[in-house]
C-alpha cells in the first residue's frame, strides 16, 4: 500500500510538471487559436537561457550572491522570452493572420526547429546544471501510518505549489480582466476581433510573452530537476496529450489533464508495464489521448467543437 501511494504521489508530482508546460499551450490556444507546437522548444530555450545567464552573471557582472545572481538571470531570461515573443509575432504570426489552423500549426513546427538550433547555437549543447535553490532532499511523510514513511520529493512539492499558484493567477486573468476578454475574443475569430478594434499584434505579443514566462518557470523547474539538456524538448512533447485530455481551452483542464497523465503513466508503468516488457511510458499518454479523441474530442473541460455549414 505504501508503495502504491508513493507511486501515486510521484505520478501526481510528475503530472504537475507536465501541466506547467501544458499551461503554455492552453494560453496561446485560448488567446490566438494557434496550437503552439513550439512550446516544448520554448521551455528548452528558456531553461538554457536561465542556466547560462546564471553562470555568466557571476562571471561577467561579478555578483556573487546566489540569490541575486539567479534573480538577475531570471529577469534576463524573461526579457529574452519577451523579445522572442515579439519576433515571433512580427515575423511569423503577423503574416499568417487568418490562415487555417493547419498552416499555423506547421509554422510552429518550423519555429520549433529554428528555436532548437538557435538555442543550442547561442547557449551551447552541453548539459547544464540549474540551481535555483530548490531543495533536493526528500521528505518522508506519514511515518506513523506506513513503515518508513512515504518518500516525497520536496522539489516536486514546491513545483506543485508554484504550478497551482500560476494556474490560479492565469484563470483569474482570463476571466476577470478586460485583456483576458480580448484574448478570448481573438481566439474565437481573428478577423472579427480586429474589426472591433482589438489590436491583434499587441495582444499576440502579450500572450506569447506570458506563455514565454510560463515556459521559463516550467523550464526552471524541470531543468532544476533533470538538468538542462536537449531531451527536455522531447519531454515537453508529452504535454500535447495533457491538453487533449484537459481541453485545449481550459486552464484548470491543463492541471487535471497533467495529473491524470502523470499518475496514469507511473501506475501503468509499475503495474501493467512488466506484462509488456516495460517502457510503456513512451506511449501511454498518447494512446490515452487517442481514446479521448475518439470519445470526447474536446477533452474534459474544453469547449465543444461545432462545425457549421
Amino acid at each position: 500500500m505504501g508503495a502504491f501511494l508513493e507511486t501515486l504521489i510521484g505520478g501526481l508530482m510528475a503530472g504537475m510538471l507536465y501541466s506547467l508546460i501544458a499551461l503554455g499551450f492552453v494560453l496561446i490556444f485560448k488567446a490566438s487559436g494557434v496550437f503552439n507546437f513550439a512550446q516544448g522548444a520554448m521551455v528548452l530555450f528558456a531553461a538554457l537561457a536561465m542556466a547560462r545567464f546564471a553562470q555568466w552573471v557571476p562571471q561577467v557582472i561579478g555578483v556573487q550572491d546566489k540569490l541575486l545572481a539567479n534573480a538577475i538571470a531570471f529577469v534576463g531570461a524573461l526579457a529574452l522570452m519577451i523579445v522572442l515573443a515579439w519576433l515571433i509575432e512580427r515575423l511569423v504570426l503577423g503574416r499568417l493572420v487568418n490562415q487555417e489552423g493547419i498552416t499555423l500549426l506547421m509554422a510552429t513546427l518550423g519555429i520549433t526547429y529554428f528555436l532548437d538550433g538557435f538555442g543550442q547555437t547561442l547557449f551551447g549543447s552541453d548539459i547544464y546544471k540549474l540551481d535555483v535553490g530548490m531543495p533536493k532532499d526528500p521528505l518522508f511523510m506519514f511515518q506513523n501510518v506506513f513503515q518508513g514513511g512515504i518518500l516525497v520529493s520536496k522539489e516536486d512539492l514546491y513545483a506543485a505549489v508554484i504550478a497551482a499558484a500560476l494556474v490560479a493567477v492565469l484563470s483569474l486573468f482570463f476571466q476577470k480582466t478586460a485583456t483576458g476578454r480580448a484574448l478570448r475574443a481573438v481566439a474565437d475569430d481573428h478577423q472579427a476581433a480586429q474589426s472591433i478594434g482589438i489590436p491583434l499584434s499587441r495582444i499576440w505579443v502579450i500572450v506569447w510573452s506570458v506563455a514565454g514566462f510560463v515556459a521559463l518557470v516550467a523550464g526552471i523547474i524541470w531543468g532544476s530537476k533533470l538538468g538542462v539538456q536537449f531531451s527536455l524538448g522531447l519531454v515537453a512533447l508529452k504535454a500535447l496529450p495533457v491538453v487533449i485530455l484537459g481541453g485545449l481551452t481550459s486552464v484548470p483542464g491543463a492541471i487535471i489533464g497533467g495529473l491524470i497523465i502523470g499518475v496514469g503513466e507511473k501506475l501503468s508503468e509499475v503495474y501493467v508495464g512488466p506484462m509488456f516488457g516495460g517502457g510503456i511510458e513512451i506511449w501511454f499518454a498518447y494512446v490515452l489521448a487517442l481514446l479521448f479523441l475518439l470519445v470526447r474530442p474536446q477533452g474534459l473541460f474544453g469547449e465543444k467543437i461545432i462545425d457549421r455549414v
Partner: protein, 354 residues
C-alpha cells in the same frame, strides 16, 4: 518561345486528359527518364548514389505517400515514421520467416501491413481533424517506437535490438552495388509515381480533394467521407510502408527503430510542405531539397574555407530548416511546385513580358 502550346490542339478528351498534355513536357520527362536510367548509372560516382540518389528516391516515395494524405486529402499525419517502420519490419519478418520469399513480394506485403495499421490509426480522422488528428497520429508513432523496441517477436528475438538483411536479389540478379540498388529503387519510384498520379487525377483523387476543401459540400454531392478518408490513409500508408521497406533493406541494410523515429516523420512532413502540398512533382522537389540541403551545409565551410564544427553545422541546419518552413508557409504555401508552375507560366510567354 520554346514553351508555347501553339498548334497543340487536342481532338479527343482522352488526349486532353493525359498526364503530360504539352509536347515539351513529354519530351522533358522522357529525357529525364533516360538520364536517370541510363546516363547516371554509367557516369555518377559511387558516393553520389549512396549519399544522395538512393535516399532521395526512397524519401520521395515516402513523401509521395504522405502528400496523398496531407496534400490531397487534407488529413494531417505526424506518424509517417511509424508506417515506414511497419513496412520495414513486416517485410523483414516475411523474409526471415518464410523460406524463399521474393524480395519484391516481401516489400509489397510490408506495404500491406502498413496499410492495415494506417487504416486503424486513420479511424480517428472520421471524428476529428487538424491538430487533434495530429496528436492521434503521434500515438501511432510512439506506439510503434515502443513495439519494435520491446516486442521481441518483431525483431526475430535479435539480441542487439537491431535487424539486418543481406544478399538481396531479384529473379537471380543481385541488388548489391550502389548502381543496382539505385536502379531497383528507381523502378519502384517510377511505377508508384505513375500509379499515384493516375489515382489523383481520377475520381478518387477528386473525392480526396473535395473532402480536403469542403467536406460538407462533398457529402451533399454523394461522396462518403469515411471511404475517402480511409482510402487516403490506406493508399498513403501502403506507399509509405513500401518506402520504409526499401529504406531498411536497400539503403540501410541493418536498422533499429530509431531509424523511423519522430524526426523522420517531421522530415517527411517538411518535404511535403516545402515541395508542395497536393502535387506529385512537389514530393520530389521537397525530397531533393531536404536530402541535399544538409550536405551543402556540411560542405559549405570547406568550399569557402571557413571552418565550422559539425555540431554547429547541425544546429545551423535545424535553424535553416525551421526558417525555410516558415518562409514557405508565408510566401508560397504551395511550395516549390507552385514556384515551378509559375515559372513555366512565365516561360510560356518568354521573351514577351505579358
Amino acid at each position: 518561345m520554346l514553351y508555347r502550346e501553339n498548334g497543340q490542339f487536342k481532338t479527343s478528351y482522352r488526349a486532353d486528359q493525359q498526364i503530360f498534355p504539352i509536347v515539351q513536357d513529354r519530351i522533358a520527362i522522357a529525357l529525364l527518364l533516360v538520364v536517370a536510367a541510363v546516363v547516371i548509372p554509367w557516369t555518377a560516382p559511387e558516393y553520389l548514389f549512396r549519399a544522395i540518389l538512393i535516399p532521395f528516391l526512397i524519401l520521395s516515395l515516402a513523401a509521395l505517400g504522405l502528400n496523398i494524405l496531407v496534400g490531397y486529402c487534407g488529413q494531417i499525419s505526424l506518424g509517417t515514421g511509424a508506417f515506414m517502420a511497419v513496412g520495414a519490419y513486416a517485410a523483414y519478418n516475411f523474409t526471415v520467416r518464410i523460406q524463399g520469399m521474393p524480395l519484391i513480394v516481401a516489400l509489397l506485403l510490408g506495404g500491406v501491413c502498413a496499410t492495415a495499421i494506417g487504416v486503424l490509426f486513420g479511424i480517428p480522422s472520421l471524428r476529428i481533424k487538424g491538430l487533434y488528428l495530429a496528436v492521434a497520429t503521434l500515438a501511432a508513432q510512439f506506439f510503434t517506437d515502443w513495439a519494435f523496441l520491446r516486442i521481441k517477436w518483431f525483431t526475430n528475438d535479435s539480441l542487439s535490438g537491431s535487424v539486418n538483411v543481406g544478399g538481396l536479389q531479384v529473379f537471380g540478379w543481385p541488388i548489391d552495388t550502389p548502381v543496382q540498388k539505385y536502379l531497383f529503387c528507381l523502378a519502384f519510384v517510377v511505377v508508384f509515381a505513375l500509379l499515384a498520379k493516375n489515382l489523383v487525377r481520377g475520381h478518387l483523387g477528386r473525392e480526396w480533394m473535395a473532402i480536403r476543401d469542403m467536406d460538407v459540400a462533398a457529402e451533399v454531392i454523394g461522396i462518403r467521407p469515411v471511404y475517402a478518408k480511409l482510402t487516403a490513409f490506406a493508399v498513403s500508408s501502403f506507399i509509405v510502408g513500401v518506402a520504409g521497406g526499401l529504406w531498411g533493406f536497400v539503403h540501410l541494410g541493418s536498422w533499429e527503430p530509431a531509424a523511423f523515429s519522430i524526426d523522420r516523420s517531421f522530415q517527411l512532413l517538411f518535404m511535403v510542405i516545402i515541395g508542395g502540398l497536393g502535387s506529385i512533382m512537389g514530393s520530389f522537389f521537397g525530397a531533393a531539397f531536404i536530402v541535399v540541403l544538409p550536405i551543402i551545409l556540411d560542405n559549405l565551410p570547406y568550399w569557402f574555407d571557413v571552418p565550422i564544427d559539425t555540431a554547429l553545422a547541425s544546429h545551423l541546419t535545424f535553424m535553416i530548416f525551421g526558417a525555410l518552413i516558415v518562409f514557405f508557409l508565408i510566401v508560397e504555401p504551395h511550395g516549390i511546385a507552385r514556384l515551378w508552375s509559375t515559372g513555366k507560366e512565365k516561360l510560356r510567354l518568354w521573351p514577351f513580358p505579358h
